[in-house]
Amino acid sequence: SQQGEEDPQALSIQEGENATMNCSYKTSINNLQWYRQNSGRGLVHLILIRSNEREKHSGRLRVTLDTSKKSSSLLITASRAADTASYFCATAPWGGTSYGKLTFGQGTILTVHP
């Protein structure tokens, strides 16, 4: 079952604009990860934020995590046509035998127009 709800389902912007995607989840987590998927390809890991972190940066990516609201956002600044892809959030549970099991959101389809 899907833990995460992503919003929006689709986002269309012009090159150079910023793109913001949101993710909500339901259960307690150890960390939240964002992945990108280009059409017909596997997922590529973008960034991991732990439950005790509030914000993380990687290049043009900024991720925030609010555990009280069980939500996260991914901001891509100065977008490029090459950023066109589907973006998924995924949550990892605490401990037990399932710590490796990621639960994915439904994804946001981002289209960046040149």
Partner: protein
Amino acid sequence: GAGVSQSPSNKVTEKGKDVELRCDPISGHTALYWYRQSLGQGLEFLIYFQGNSAPDKSGLPSDRFSAERTGGSVSTLTIQRTQQEDSAVYLCASSPSRIYQPQHFGDGTRLSIL
């Protein structure tokens, strides 16, 4: 180094046949995961291996699905008596031994059941 390799990339088979999907993880990665991606269900966890053991196989949808891993490396996902609802992209991922690490995905096997 080489990434996660999955074969075949595409598989078309008739309903009722058995299929085997193969995953070669990144060398040295002890954790291996299988996921399924379909339009209706999104990305779903199937099974997780640590070494050759499967601590969590909670996502396998029925007893027609099984998986094994040998030598702490290659894994095979087997679907017996395939049904049309098994049509999906089957993704494999691996990660290093330390827990809560990003997962590295292969490009998947697209399975179509006629």
